[in-house]
């Protein structure tokens, strides 16, 4: 579940589909995601949202995910209108 955040963007990982490839963590330009330090139920170091405030909604994580396991929703913050 995404935590209560100050940014307008939200990120959800579908842990049923995620295989822990790490693409999203690696290629997020703003280091919003990190790999969990604990194995999850499926035996994977899954991505977790570490810095949602840094998210600009570029959706590169979605584009690098081959398993359709991550989604970005929401809108820019009011003070970021026009800067996406």
């Amino acid at each position: 579940m995404a935590p209560k955040v100050k940014t307008g963007y939200r990120i959800r990982v579908n842990y049923h589909y995620c295989t822990g490839c790490g693409n999203c963590v690696q290629y997020c330009p703003h280091h919003v995601l990190v790999k969990d330090t604990k194995l999850n139920e499926r035996g994977i170091f899954a991505p977790v949202v570490a810095a949602i405030d840094e998210c600009t909604g570029c959706k590169l994580c979605e584009m690098y995910c081959g398993n359709f396991a991550i989604a970005v929703g929401g809108k820019p913050r009011a003070d970021e209108e026009g800067v996406a």
């Binding site: 579908n14 822990g20 570029c58 979605e62 584009m63 995910c65 081959g66 929703g73």
Partner: protein
């Protein structure tokens, strides 16, 4: 910064990856059968983004595939699909388009499908300049059958059937298809999402045979066998280091080109297109018929 794709779920409760809207459930896998780190899922998404950004009616889009990992891409498309025989998507696709030129026909084929068993269909479809889209996911391997080499596998590569190092070199698919007459030829990689999407959009929107090669990672076989890493990131990094923009590549000396490959748009031109021509011929002859 890459432009954000248009599709997004604004649902307040459950966010879903946007590809899911076009995804056919019921076929094997969770959500599909491709390996951890495989790039084929990415190409599925790029195609779907392209269709969405072009605002096309998915009911008028037929996906065609053949055998192999990439060949199964069509079986996950929610709308009409035709899963055909290994190597032959382009033949079936030409038939579909001839029957109903209003349809958009998109073929996803692996490197073996495209250039080994499918080689003749590839060059013939390019020669005819049939108005279908061919997206070749080139991961330099036959993944489904366990990682044998293909006609695009680089010389020296290790694979399930080249344990001592491959003694043949691979096609430059874009050069091959360009020489055969395609009117749009482009290459990108799964390490370049936005260009890939743009090329696919252009390919779909353009009349004539459009060929987009997307180099992709197969960490399970090609990557592991050739010490390029057994995960997707290592292979994506290899792609980022190996592929240079066509314009840059052209300026490089032969020494600088060692170990590098060009990406970009190689052909973007116009030529007579067979489906439109045959329908025009039919109209003309029918009108001229005097019994």
């Amino acid at each position: 910064m890459a432009e954000a794709p248009v599709i997004a779920t604004e649902d307040a409760e459950v966010l879903e990856h946007p590809a899911i809207r076009y995804f056919r459930f019921g076929a094997p896998g969770s959500p599909h059968i491709w390996c951890e780190g495989c790039g084929i899922g990415q190409v599925f998404y790029y195609t779907v983004i392209a269709i969405d950004e072009l605002g096309l009616d998915p009911n008028k889009i037929v996906w065609v595939g053949g055998s192999g990992c990439t060949g199964r891409m069509c079986t996950y498309w929610k709308y009409d699909y035709m899963h055909t025989l290994h190597g032959r998507p382009l033949g079936f696709a030409t038939g579909i388009k001839l029957a109903n030129p209003e349809l958009t026909v998109i073929c996803h084929m692996g490197d073996g499908e495209t250039s080994a068993i499918g080689g003749n269909h590839l060059i013939q479809t390019a020669r005819r300049n049939a108005d279908v889209v061919a997206i070749c996911v080139n991961n330099y391997t036959y993944g489904m059958t366990g990682g044998q080499y293909s006609p695009t596998t680089p010389i020296g590569s290790l694979s399930a059937t080249s344990r001592y190092g491959l003694v043949e070199d691979g096609f430059d698919l874009c050069q091959l298809v360009a020489a055969a007459g395609a009117t749009y030829v482009a290459r990108s990689t799964t390490a370049q999402p936005r260009p890939s999407i743009n090329y696919i959009k252009k390919a779909i929107g353009k009349k004539g045979f459009s060929f987009v090669e997307i180099v992709s990672q197969c960490p399970t076989f090609y990557g592991r066998s050739n010490k390029l890493g057994d995960n997707s990131i290592a292979m994506l990094e290899w792609m980022k280091n190996t592929f240079v923009r066509k314009e840059q590549f052209e300026k490089m000396s032969p020494e600088e080109r060692q170990g590098k490959r060009p990406w970009g748009e190689f052909v973007d031109t116009e030529r007579p297109e067979v489906v439109a021509s045959l329908h025009r011929l039919a109209r003309t002859q029918r009108e001229a018929y005097r019994g």
